[in-house]
């Protein structure tokens, strides 16, 4: 099973930001030359700070946005520039789970209708048939029939996220793009959902593009990990390599920022200074140099190249490595 | 000038509220009553109208008409000055008459004057006007055409519509568009008398507001006084209401060329179906007189006819004879005026009594006029009945008949919307127009009236009575039968 379900090469996306009344548009490079691939049935995670371009990458892959450059291959088909009308087939295969289980469910629709919506769009099944599938899928995600006639706001966050998952599952997709599916949830619920996602993957051989900023969650669910910073992937590799042998200073800072639920392990952390630089005028050279605890002179001017760390697909872009 | 002509009088000002905006102050280009009213405070003609609407001399001392009704000679009053100091004389008259004859932009009042072939000055104060063909309404035209300062005409003709200069008892002060027009006493006026210092005319379209102004004293005179509000003034000692029979005839013209209205019995039946007194009560709030001839009683040569008193039985019988025992459906047109709407509903109610269903079609003025005058031939006409009114100068019987009943006046040419065609009546009218002999004219118009009245091309409804409200401390203001307000003797008691 080494079929590449998703292959992304060199995609970029910029937004034009109207700024001020004077009319000069600023360019925001949200995703800047990102490449990765995912084997069928595996999970690739994107981690990084808020605003670094994870969601934008996810939305490019799901073609809610059109990349300005680069290619996106899903199941052997290049879709990066296709028109909405040509995407219908792809949309059946690829489904999304959204970060915010509160906002991504239409508050005015009943759960039954929310879950059945993809069926309505893509199939010609009868109402009855649709409802049978809805009932089935509800069971799969751990809800029951009695939930179907309620509105989203009547559920807890975890239940809502299950509804979102049910909606994504009902088309039996090959690829699920999960944009921070658990970051809004309680730990107790989070673990339920993570377990559920894993179970579903092993049962139906689903591929995940999993977006998160929580490294402990990512470690639990992924096979491969890409660490993003300011629109680029600064380090990527198999899960174990990233966690046991992080190379990029940013990855290290991320790992050390995770609070550990054990008071005895209170530790000195790598606390990064300052906020994420504005993507509208990203720093020259290595994008991370403004906050990097080990920044060097050359980092300010020269963009580091991607280098392979070890044999097993572990890549990093840092002058510390390339030198 | 404080010689014997010296004008005294109160220094107070009065406000006169009327129902509509004034359109233009150019006396040679005015068609609406309110503009005329305001102009009459400032401007005078060779002739004019008395309070009964009949012709009197004003700036002319005397006048004569030749036998063949082609030559008009005027002797002018002397020592009259325009507000700008210009002298009034035969030359001034000539300038005025020639302006009306020649200026193409004066599209309204050139009628009659376009028949003039020559204007001859016979002396400083004597002038003769010669016509191409006889025109029996010419004296009325001379009364309407007011005299402007020749200086104004020659040098500043653009100002005429805005600020006229005449010989009248008041002179122009200011006109704030849409708000008011003010005139001031002319102290060198040639007639004696005490007058108020200033008069402000205000257009106040809302009936209720006009009444309120009269009540608060903001206005000293309001015209028209809405009849339906009369009750509000009962017992109010500060206000005097006067009632004047008018020359405004209200009627429904019936298309006599259209089936089934081409049957005189149908038209007569309609006339019998309508209760004129109820009409006056309901539509005119009780003020008005039945229209008992083709022309209103104040009009020259009026002769009373046998009124079609309401008689439902007779009306039904006539319908039956005409083959419409079970009635039929007819359409009545009218403008969007609320009085018109009321009138049309009344007709509808009355004709229902004899089994005729009337559909009311009220139309906005412009559309209505297109509908009526858009028909190039009688066959094209869609008009069945038109609820409308007609008003002409009391002295001008021609205008009260010819445009309405002469076959040459059938639309689109003029306003014979009854499509009334009677060769006999046509020839009588022509004859009356071409003679200067008043007895002959009276005879002819008697025949015209009785013939047309029997032919019933209209449903004859009523003649308005005009109501004027005046504060009791004011005197000397009267309204003539055409609705013109005369203020030349306006003063506080």
């Amino acid at each position: 099973m080494s079929n590449k379900l998703l292959k992304v090469t060199g995609i970029r996306k910029s937004f034009e930001i109207p700024s001020g009344i004077l009319g000069k548009k600023k360019i925001l490079k949200a995703v800047n030359d990102v490449s990765f691939e995912i084997m069928e049935g595996q999970t690739f995670s994107l981690v990084g700070e808020s605003g670094c371009g994870k969601s934008t990458t996810g939305r490019l892959v799901s073609r809610l946005l059109t990349p300005s450059e680069g290619e996106i291959w899903i199941d052997g088909e290049e879709i990066s520039q296709k028109k909405e009308s040509q995407l219908k087939k792809m949309r059946q295969k690829v489904q999304m789970i959204f970060q915010d289980p509160y906002a991504s469910l239409n508050p005015r629709m009943k759960v039954r209708d929310i879950i059945a919506e993809p069926l309505l769009i893509h199939t010609k099944l009868s109402k009855l048939e649709q409802q049978r599938l809805v009932s089935e899928i509800l069971k799969v995600v751990g809800l029951n029939e009695s939930h179907a006639d309620r509105y989203a706001h009547e559920f807890s966050g975890g239940q809502r996220q299950r509804i979102g998952i049910a909606r994504a599952l009902i088309m039996k997709p090959r690829l699920i793009i999960a944009d921070e599916p658990v970051s809004a949830l309680d730990v107790s619920i989070q673990s339920q959902i993570l377990n559920l996602l894993k179970d579903l993957q092993s049962e139906y051989n689903i591929t995940y593009l999993f977006i998160s900023h929580d490294l402990s969650v990512v470690e639990h669910i992924s096979d491969y990990i890409g660490v993003m910073y300011l629109g680029t992937i600064v380090e990527s590799g198999p899960k174990d390599a990233i966690f046991s042998n992080p190379q990029h200073p940013y990855t290290k800072a991320l790992l050390s920022s995770v609070p550990i639920p054990d008071p005895k392990l209170r530790k000195e952390r790598i606390i990064l200074k300052g906020d994420l630089p504005s993507p509208m005028n990203p720093p020259a050279g290595c994008p991370f140099h403004t906050r990097c605890p080990v920044s060097m002179e050359m980092c300010k001017t020269i963009v580091p190249k991607v280098t392979q760390v070890a044999l097993d697909n572990h890549f990093v872009s840092c002058h510390l490595m390339s030198s | 000038g404080d010689s014997e002509k010296g004008q005294k009088g109160s220094d107070k000002e009065i406000v006169i509220a009327v129902n509509e905006n004034f359109i233009s102050m150019d006396p040679h280009n005015t068609g609406d009553t309110n503009s005329n009213s305001v102009q009459s405070a400032m401007l005078e003609g060779l002739l004019g109208f008395d309070s009964d609407g009949q012709i009197t001399t004003v700036l002319a001392e005397d006048y004569s008409v030749s036998e063949n009704a082609l030559e008009y000679t005027f002797k002018l009053n002397q020592g009259i000055k325009f507000h700008d100091g210009e002298e009034f004389n035969a030359e001034a008259v000539k300038v005025n008459i020639e302006r009306i004859m020649k200026d193409e932009s004066l599209r309204l009042n050139s009628r009659g004057f376009n028949l003039i072939t020559s204007v001859d000055i016979l002396g400083d104060y004597e002038i003769k006007v010669t016509l191409k063909t006889p025109y029996s309404a010419m004296l009325t035209r001379f009364s309407v055409a007011k005299m402007l300062s020749p200086k104004l005409i020659k040098e500043n003709s653009d100002d005429i519509p805005k600020s006229p200069v005449g010989t009248g008892p008041f002179k122009f002060v200011e006109w704030v568009q849409g708000d008011h027009l003010t005139v001031e006493r002319y102290d060198d006026y040639w007639k004696k008398g005490e007058r108020v210092k200033k008069i402000t005319y205000k257009p106040v379209p809302e009936n209720g507001s006009r009444i309120a102004m009269l009540k608060t004293g903001e206005a000293s005179v309001i015209y028209p006084l809405p009849a339906q509000n009369l009750q509000e003034l009962e017992g109010n000692k500060d206000i005097i209401v006067s009632k004047i029979p008018s020359t405004i005839a209200r009627y429904v013209s019936i298309n006599t060329m259209k089936e089934p209205f081409d049957d005189v019995r149908i038209r007569q039946a309609f006339n019998y179906a309508v209760d004129k007194n109820a009409y006056i009560k309901v539509v005119n709030s009780g003020f008005g007189l039945p229209l008992d001839s083709v022309i209103p009683s104040k009009t020259l040569y009026y002769v009373k006819q046998d009124v079609y008193e309401q008689n439902i039985e007779k009306a039904k019988e006539l319908l039956k004879e005409a083959g419409f025992e079970n009635g039929f459906t007819a359409e009545i047109w009218g403008n969007t005026n609320s009085d018109t709407m009321k009138g049309m509903q009344f007709i509808q109610q009355q004709l229902k009594e004899i089994g005729v269903t009337v559909e009311i079609k009220s139309m906005e003025e412009g559309t209505l006029s297109d509908e009526i005058f858009g028909a190039q031939t009688p066959e094209e006409a869609k008009l069945q009945m038109w609820y409308v009114s007609w008003s002409s100068y009391a002295s001008d019987v021609t205008n009260a008949t010819k445009p309405l009943f002469h076959s040459e006046s059938i639309p689109p040419n003029s306003a014979n919307t009854a499509y009334y065609k009677n060769t006999e009546v046509d020839s009588w009218m022509n004859e009356a127009n071409s003679t200067g002999d008043a007895t002959k004219q009276a005879e002819l118009y008697e025949k015209i009236q009785s013939t047309i009245y029997k032919d019933a091309p209209w449903i004859f409804l009523g003649v308005d009575e005009l109501l004027v409200g005046t504060r009791s401390d004011i005197e000397g203001i009267y309204v003539d039968p055409t609705g013109g307000i005369n203020v030349s003797d306006a003063n506080f008691k």
């Binding site: 673990s191 339920q192 894993k198 402990s216 991320l254 920022s257 609070p259 550990i260 008071p263 990064l272 | -």
Partner: protein, 330 residues
């Protein structure tokens, strides 16, 4: 034992819905000592925020009201204060940081204006002094160019900066107690680390007490001295932070700690507490956790356990420890 700053005793809070009262807090008990950081943990909906709102008396615009119990602040029962007295207390003695930094700032008001409001009210400073104070507060929370930031609007700041502004605002009048309701949930790990570091510093400098509300046990472990665990409107366990993580007593606490994914944890499946928090209007009889409890006993389904004092001053409400019930239950 050190001085008690805040005592919450048998706090009951209710909402009215359809003319029916729904009790959300069922006799919540805990206290905060001076200079102490207390963690309040529990699943979403268990009443953590409501507890803090009850302390602040912020029920305006909702149907909520306190229907029983006392809240003593420096010994004074603040539930009996009138509106005005309570208003003067808020912001000055007790300040609060809200769950949502994104929406808790007025989007159409400049940062400076918002920051100066409490300063001017409570510290009686004039405009200029207030501005200086505001700038110094921003500096204290580590905002780089404070004199510019005060003229900016919230949307011009990043989430981390906004949360820092919230903290600056809450700390501006030197409160004795800071209630931080999930101050970092909306933030990234690296920013979160910054903020937590900052709070710790400030707390130590000013000798402030903090009530830290969160459901992230990692943060609790990092920050707190003592932890109060809530479930369904009740305190189910209270203990010193080391004891709690060392040996959680209540099955719920155990479940919570077990569900956290830990880096380096090789479990294929996380432990999870099954089911959901019960609906406040539809509570099970007996122990409220019983339907989800892995160690449920018959008695759990019949009667509600009361709080039991265990060794090391810990408290726990669970039938499992009924045999240890001594003289001194609370």
């Amino acid at each position: 034992m050190s001085e008690k700053l805040l005592q919450v005793e048998q706090l009951q809070t209710e909402f009215t819905k359809d003319k029916q009262k729904i009790r959300i807090l069922h006799g919540v008990n805990f206290h905060i000592n001076k200079g102490e950081v207390i963690g309040l943990v529990g699943e979403s909906g268990c009443g953590k925020s409501l507890t803090s709102l009850s302390i602040m008396g912020l029920f305006k615009g909702t149907s909520g009201e306190i229907t029983g119990g006392h809240i003593r602040f420096n010994g004074q029962d603040i539930t009996s204060l009138n509106v005005n007295e309570m208003r003067k207390m808020r912001g000055k003695q007790i300040a609060m940081i809200f769950q949502e930094p994104m929406t808790s700032l007025n989007p159409v008001m400049k940062i400076g204006e918002q920051l100066m409001e409490p300063i001017r009210i409570h510290l009686n400073l004039n405009k200029k002094q207030a501005k200086e104070h505001a700038i110094s507060m921003l500096k204290k929370v580590g905002i780089a160019r404070p004199d510019e930031v005060i003229n900016e609007y919230p949307h011009q700041l990043s989430g981390g900066m906004r949360q820092r502004v919230m903290i600056a605002m809450a700390m501006s009048c030197n409160p004795n107690l800071l209630i931080a309701d999930e101050p970092t949930t909306a933030l990234d790990v690296t920013i979160q680390a910054q903020i937590l570091e900052l709070m710790k510093q400030l707390q130590q400098q000013e000798d402030m007490s903090i009530l830290l509300i969160t459901h992230d046990l990692g943060i609790v472990a990092e920050m707190c001295d003592r932890v109060v665990v809530m479930y369904a409107g009740r305190v189910v366990e209270e203990a010193n932070v080391f004891d709690l993580f060392e040996e959680p007593k209540h099955p719920y606490t155990r479940g919570l700690i077990g569900s956290v994914p830990k880096i380096g944890d090789k479990r294929d499946k996380l432990d999870s507490i099954k089911g959901n928090v019960p609906d406040p209007s539809d509570m099970p009889i007996g122990c409220k956790f019983a339907p989800r409890c892995t160690q449920v006993m018959p008695i759990c389904l019949e009667a509600e356990p009361t709080s039991i004092m265990l060794e090391n001053d810990r408290l726990c409400s669970c039938w499992l420890y009924d045999h240890e019930r001594g003289e001194m239950h609370v």
